[in-house]
C-alpha cells in the first residue's frame, strides 16, 4: 500500500533527506520510500509512481514529503514515524573517554548521562547548592568543601538518604570507590575490606596499612567529620554506608573510624555492624576502646584497626583470635604490633645523642587525623601537650605559630590554611615551621608525617629532606642532635612511591617508622627520656 505524509513549511537539507530515505528503504516490509521536499520534480516523480495525485495540491519546495510503499498500513506508519524521528534526531557532542569539559553541571550530565558521582570542591558558600543539584540529578556526591553549615548538611543528608544516595562530606577529603581514588587517596590493592571513615588522613593511613599487610579495600567511604560526631546528623551517611557494605558481596570485613560519636549514635553504629553479620573493626580516635564482641573488635589505634581488619580478612574467626594473633610475639613480622622493648631501645639510642637543654617533642603534621593520633597518645603519656587540635582546654595553643613545651601542630588547620593551599598540597609552610623549631635549642625530637597519593604534593619528602638536613646540622652545631621521626602514609603504587619517599627521608637522617602510630610512640618515648634527663 502507498501512503504519504506531509509536513508543511519545514525545510531539510537534501543530505538529511537522502539519509532518511536510505534508512526507510532498509526496513523490512517497506518496498520503496521517498523522503523529499515537494519540489515539482519530486511531485512529478511520485505521481509517476502512482501515488494519489490529490495529495499534492498546493505543495511547494518548502514542504516535506514522506512517501512510503509498504506491505501494510502498520508497516507504512512505522516507516513514516521512523522518518520523522530520523529527521528530528538531535545531535550532541559524543562522549569521549578520559577527561572532557563542560560549562555547567547540567551540561556535564548531558555530556555524560551515565555519570554516577559528583565531586564538589567549590568555595564553601556555594557547595551546598551544587551538592543539592548533584543529588537532584541522582548522583552520589562527595563534598570536599568545608565550612558548610550544619543545617545544610542535615538537609542534604536527609535528602540523599531519602533517594538512597551517598553524600560523602562536607569536608570529606578521601574516598575510594571501585578502586578509584577520589580527592586525596592512595592507590591501594582491591580486596574484601570496606571502610567507613569520618576522617581523611585516617582513612588514608588505615587503607595503606591494610595494603601493606597484603589485604585490600572493596570500598572506602568518607562521611565528613560531623556525620557521627554531631547528634543532629546522627550518622546518616555512615549508617547508609555500613548497610550498603553489609549487603555488598565483595565486602567481607567492615571498618569504621571516627572521632568519638554521641552515645546513641555509637549504639546505632554498633547495631548496624552487628546486623551485617560481617566481622567489623571500630576505632574511635582518642576514646577508650569499647567492649569487644565476637565479631566486633574495638581497636586502640589506626595501626591496630588496620591489622585486625587484615586478620579478619585473612581468616581470623573471632575478635579474640585476631587480637591474640596481633599481639603475640610469635606471629610473623607482617602481622605484628609494635614491640615496646625495641622502641625503648631505639629511643634510648637517640636520647643519648641529645644535649642537656634539648627537652621537647615538636610534632608538625600535614594530616589532621594523624596529628590527632599522635596528640592523644602524647598527651596521655607525656602529661600535657599543647596543640591547636587539643580537646583539653587547658592545653590549647594560644598562638599556634609559637611552640611552648611539647607541641603537636596540625598545619592543615583552618588557622594556617585560610587563603593558602593545604600543606598536603604545598608542604612549604611546614618546611618553614621545621626551620623555626630547629632554631629552638630546646627542641629534642621532631615528629612529621609524609602523606602521599593522589591529590598530595608530587614529592613531599623532597621538600622535607633539605630542611631536615639543615635542622640536624643546626642541632649538631649547638653540640646536640635532633631526632627526626617520620612515617610515610602511602603505597608503592602511588605516584610518589612509599619506598622512594621513605628512602629519601632516611637518607636525610630521619628515622622512618612503618606507621604514624609507631612514629608517635618512638618520638614520645624519646621526649619522655629527654625530659627526665634520660641516660645523660
Amino acid at each position: 500500500m502507498k501512503k504519504i505524509s506531509l509536513k508543511r513549511g519545514s525545510y531539510y537539507d537534501s543530505v538529511f533527506l537522502m539519509l532518511a530515505t536510505r534508512e526507510l528503504k532498509g526496513i523490512d516490509g517497506v518496498k520503496d520510500a521517498i523522503v523529499a521536499m515537494a519540489t515539482p520534480m519530486n511531485v512529478e516523480l511520485l505521481k509517476n509512481l502512482a501515488y494519489p495525485e490529490a495529495e499534492f495540491e498546493g505543495l511547494g519546495p518548502n514542504d516535506l514529503l514522506i512517501a512510503v510503499d509498504a506491505e501494510n498500513e502498520e508497516k507504512a506508519d512505522m516507516a513514516i514515524s521512523k522518518a520523522y524521528s530520523a529527521l528530528a534526531e538531535k545531535k550532541t557532542a559524543s562522549s569521549r573517554s578520559g577527561q572532557t569539559n563542560a560549562p555547567t553541571l547540567a551540561a556535564a550530565i548531558k555530556l555524560e548521562p551515565e555519570a554516577n558521582l559528583a565531586l564538589i570542591s567549590v568555595p564553601s558558600s556555594f557547595a551546598a547548592r551544587e551538592a543539592r543539584k548533584a543529588l537532584e540529578a541522582g548522583l552520589h556526591t562527595m563534598v570536599f568543601s568545608d565550612n558548610v553549615s550544619i543545617e545544610d548538611e542535615i538537609a542534604l543528608k536527609t535528602y540523599a538518604v531519602s533517594k538512597g544516595l551517598l553524600l560523602m562530606g562536607p569536608d570529606c577529603g578521601t574516598a575510594i570507590i571501585n578502586g578509584k581514588p577520589l580527592c586525596f587517596a592512595n592507590d591501594v590493592r582491591r580486596g574484601p575490606i570496606g571502610i567507613v571513615a569520618a576522617s581523611g588522613t585516617g582513612l588514608q593511613e588505615i587503607s595503606c596499612l591494610i595494603d601493606r599487610y597484603g589485604q585490600g579495600i572493596s570500598q572506602a567511604i568518607g562521611t565528613g567529620g560531623r556525620d557521627l560526631k554531631n547528634p543532629a546528623i546522627g550518622g546518616m551517611t555512615s549508617l547508609l554506608a555500613i548497610e550498603a557494605l553489609a549487603q555488598d558481596p565483595d565486602t567481607k570485613v567492615i571498618v569504621v573510624i571516627a572521632k568519638p560519636p554521641a552515645a546513641e549514635t555509637a549504639e546505632k553504629v554498633v547495631k548496624a555492624l552487628r546486623k551485617s553479620h560481617k566481622p567489623a573493626v571500630v576505632h574511635f580516635l582518642g576514646a577508650k576502646p569499647g567492649r569487644d564482641e565476637e565479631k566486633l573488635a574495638f581497636a586502640a589505634n589506626l595501626e591496630e584497626a588496620a591489622m585486625l581488619a587484615a586478620l579478619f580478612a585473612g581468616g581470623s574467626k573471632s575478635t579474640e583470635e585476631a587480637k591474640i594473633t596481633a599481639h603475640s610475639n610469635e606471629t610473623k613480622e607482617r602481622y605484628k604490633l609494635p614491640d615496646r622493648a625495641s622502641i625503648a631501645r631505639l629511643a634510648a639510642m637517640e636520647d643519648a645523642k641529645l644535649s642537656l637543654e634539648q627537652r621537647w617533642l615538636r610534632g608538625l603534621y600535614t594530616g589532621g587525623t594523624l596529628a590527632d593520633e599522635a596528640l592523644f597518645l602524647a598527651h596521655e603519656i607525656l602529661g600535657g601537650v599543647r596543640s591547636n587540635n587539643q580537646t583539653d582546654p587547658e592545653w590549647i595553643m594560644e598562638d599556634p605559630t609559637k611552640s611552648i613545651g611539647h607541641c603537636i601542630i596540625d598545619l592543615g588547620d583552618d588557622f594556617f590554611t585560610s587563603g593558602k593551599p593545604h600543606p598536603m598540597i604545598d608542604p612549604v609552610a611546614r618546611a618553614e615551621r621545621i626551620d623555626i623549631e630547629a632554631n629552638d635549642p630546646e627542641t629534642a625530637v621532631l615528629l612529621v608525617d609524609c602523606v602521599i597519593g593522589y591529590g598530595s604534593h608530587e614529592d613531599p619528602a623532597g621538600i622535607l629532606v633539605p630542611v631536615i638536613r639543615s635542622a640536624k646540622a643546626k642541632a649538631a652545631k649547638r653540640g646536640g642532635s635532633l631526632a627526626v621521626i617520620a612515617s610515610v602514609t602511602g603505597t608503592d603504587s602511588d605516584p610518589q612511591k612509599h619506598g622512594a619517599q621513605a628512602a629519601a627521608l632516611e637518607e636525610a637522617g630521619a628515622i622512618v617508622m612503618p606507621s604514624n602510630y609507631r612514629a608517635a610512640l618512638l618520638a614520645i618515648e624519646i621526649a619522655k627520656l629527654a625530659c627526665s634527663g634520660g641516660s645523660r
Partner: protein, 475 residues
C-alpha cells in the same frame, strides 16, 4: 534504608563529574576513570542577591516552571513566520499614529536618546513633512507634541535606531502557527541611512523612493509569489553561511531568487524594476528586515506564559539594553547598553562608536544570529578571528538555552539545532551572557555604520529580571 543506589554504584565503573579543583578531575582521568570537569564559576558571578533569588525559585516556586518553559519553547520552535504582505505603518501597525515615532529598544524619550537615534528621529520627522529642516525637527521632537514609543509595544522591530513613522512601508510577517503578526520597515541599504541616524537629503529621498517605488513593486511581486515561508528560508541560509543578523548575504540572495521571476512580470517601466532589483542586489542586509520580524513573531507567541523564565525580548536603544521574560509580560529589565568589541571600517575606531543599539538582537532571542555564529564562518573575524571562536560562541549558548531548534541547524556541528529559548535562570546562574552579533553605529548622527562586532549585554538586567520573577512566583 534503601541501599539499591549505593550497591549499584559499587557495581559500576566510576563516571564522575568534577566541580571545583581541576586536579581532582585530572587525577581521576589519569587513573583511567571517565570524568567531566565542569568549568565551574560562582553562580550569579557570586552576586548573593541573585543567588538568593535562584535558590528561592528552586526551593519554593508557586508554579511549575518547567512545564511553563516547555510551553514557551514549544511555541518558539513551532512558530511559522511567513511574509504575507507589505503595508503602510499607519494602516497596519497597531496603535500607529501621525504624531508617533517608534524606536528600537526599551522606551526612551527624546531628551535621553543617543546621537544616532536623535538623528533618525530628525530624519523621520522631515520625511513625514512634520518639519522642514533638522533644526525645526529638533524643536518639534523636544516640544512634547511628538510621542515616542518602543517598537516592541506595537508588535514591531527596527534595526539600529529602529525609527518607524506613519507613512513608512512595512513588511507584514505573520506567525501562521499562532496567528500573531510582526512588522518591520524595509531595509534602506548601507552608508548614510536613517537607521544609523543620517537625515540628509539623500536619506530622505531614498526613503521616499522606497515608499513610492520599491515598496509597491515588492508588494505586487509578493502578491504574485504568494506568502514567503521564512522558517524554511532561515533554515536554508544557516546552511549557506549566514547567521541572519550580521550576515544576510545568502538570505538576500534567496529573496531575490524568490521574487525576481514575479518582479519581471510586473506592469512597471523596465527601469523601475531594474532599479528595484539592483537595490536589493547592492544591499547585503536587505534580508535583515525580514529575519527580524520573523524572529519577533516567533518569540512573541511565547510571551505571557504564567511562570515561564524564558526570555522573549532583548532590545537596545543605544542607552539601555532591555529584556522581557515570558512570565513577566509588560515589564522591561534594563541595564546600560554595552560597548561593542568589534572591527572598524577604514577611517573609524572605537572612539567613534555609539553604544549598542537596535532591535536586531531579536534574532538571538529566537535562536539564530549570534547563537548560530558557528554557521557563519565567513564573518568569524568579528568574534575573534578563527572558526573555532565561532564554534565556541554557539556551543556556549547551549548552556543557557532550554532547547535546540528542530529546523535551524548548523552543518559544521553535525546539523545540531541552534540553541533556542534563553532561560534567564541559566544566564544568571552560569554568568554566561547571550552572545550578540551587531553592527556599530557612529555616535554622531548622520554618519552611519562604522563597524561590526560582538557585544555583551549588561548582566544586571538578567539579575533584576530573575529577582522580579522570584518575588512574583515564590512564597
Amino acid at each position: 534504608m534503601n541501599t539499591k543506589e549505593v550497591l549499584s554504584l559499587f557495581d559500576s565503573e566510576v563516571i564522575a563529574i568534577n566541580l571545583g579543583l581541576p586536579s581532582f578531575a585530572e587525577n581521576l582521568a589519569s587513573y583511567g576513570a571517565n570524568v567531566v570537569n565542569v568549568d565551574w564559576r560562582p553562580p550569579a558571578s557570586g552576586n548573593l542577591e541573585a543567588l538568593k533569588a535562584l535558590e528561592q525559585i528552586e526551593k519554593s516556586a508557586k508554579v511549575d516552571i518547567e512545564t511553563a518553559n516547555k510551553e514557551a519553547v514549544r511555541r518558539i520552535l513551532g512558530a511559522e513566520p511567513t511574509v504575507v504582505n507589505i503595508g503602510t505603518a499607519i494602516d497596519t501597525v497597531p496603535g500607529m499614529a501621525k504624531d508617533l515615532v517608534l524606536h528600537s529598544g526599551p522606551p526612551i524619550n527624546w531628551d535621553k536618546m543617543c546621537g544616532p537615534m536623535r538623528g533618525a528621529v530628525i530624519g523621520g520627522l522631515i520625511y513625514e513633512g512634520l518639519a522642514s529642516d533638522p533644526k525645526e525637527a529638533e524643536t518639534l521632537a523636544a516640544s512634547g507634541k511628538i510621542r515616542f514609543d518602543s517598537c516592541h509595544h506595537h508588535n514591531a522591530v527596527g534595526p539600529m535606531a529602529g525609527v518607524m513613522t506613519a507613512s513608512m512601508p512595512v513588511w507584514i510577517v505573520e506567525n501562521k502557527a499562532f496567528g500573531n503578526t510582526a512588522y518591520c520597515t524595509l531595509n534602506e541599504g548601507l552608508g548614510k541611512v536613517l537607521r544609523y541616524g543620517a537625515y540628509s537629503e539623500e536619506v530622505i529621498d531614498r526613503l521616499k523612493w522606497i515608499q513610492d517605488e520599491l515598496a509597491p513593486i515588492l508588494k505586487d511581486a509578493l502578491k504574485l509569489h504568494g506568502p514567503i515561508d521564512m522558517k524554511s528560508i532561515i533554515a536554508q541560509i544557516l546552511q549557506m553561511g549566514d547567521e541572519g543578523h550580521n550576515r544576510n548575504r545568502a538570505g538576500t540572495s534567496i529573496i531575490i531568487r524568490e521574487l525576481a521571476p514575479h518582479i519581471v512580470m510586473l506592469d512597471y517601466p523596465k527601469e523601475k524594476l531594474s532599479r528595484a532589483l539592483a537595490f536589493l542586489n547592492a544591499n547585503d542586509h536587505f534580508f535583515l528586515n525580514l529575519s527580524m520580524p520573523s524572529a519577533k513573531c516567533s518569540v512573541d507567541a511565547a510571551a505571557g506564559i504564567e511562570g515561564s523564565t524564558i526570555i522573549t525580548t532583548m532590545a537596545r536603544n543605544g542607552v539601555e539594553f532591555g529584556i522581557k521574560l515570558s512570565g513577566l509580560p509588560g515589564q522591561w529589565f534594563t541595564g546600560p547598553s554595552g560597548v561593542i568589541d568589534g572591527l572598524y571600517l577604514p577611517g573609524f575606531g572605537p572612539k567613534d562608536a555609539a553604544r549598542d543599539i537596535g532591535d536586531s538582537v531579536i534574532t538571538e532571542t529566537a535562536g539564530f544570529g549570534g547563537f548560530a555564529m558557528a554557521a557563519a564562518p565567513a564573518i568569524v573575524k568579528f568574534v575573534g578571528g578563527s572558526p573555532e571562536d565561532a564554534l565556541a560562541v554557539t556551543e556556549s549558548m547551549y548552556a543557557i538555552c532550554n532547547a535546540e531548534s528542530e529546523t535551524y541547524r548548523i552543518p559544521v556541528l553535525d546539523f545540531r539545532g541552534t540553541p533556542t529559548g534563553i532561560d534567564v535562570r541559566k544566564v544568571v546562574e552560569t554568568g554566561i551572557l547571550p552572545a550578540i552579533n551587531t553592527g556599530i553605529a557612529h555616535k554622531e548622527p548622520g554618519i552611519g555604520m562604522v563597524g561590526a562586532g560582538l557585544v555583551k549585554p549588561p548582566e544586571n538586567a538578567f539579575i533584576d529580571a530573575l529577582i522580579a520573577f522570584a518575588s512574583k512566583y515564590t512564597n
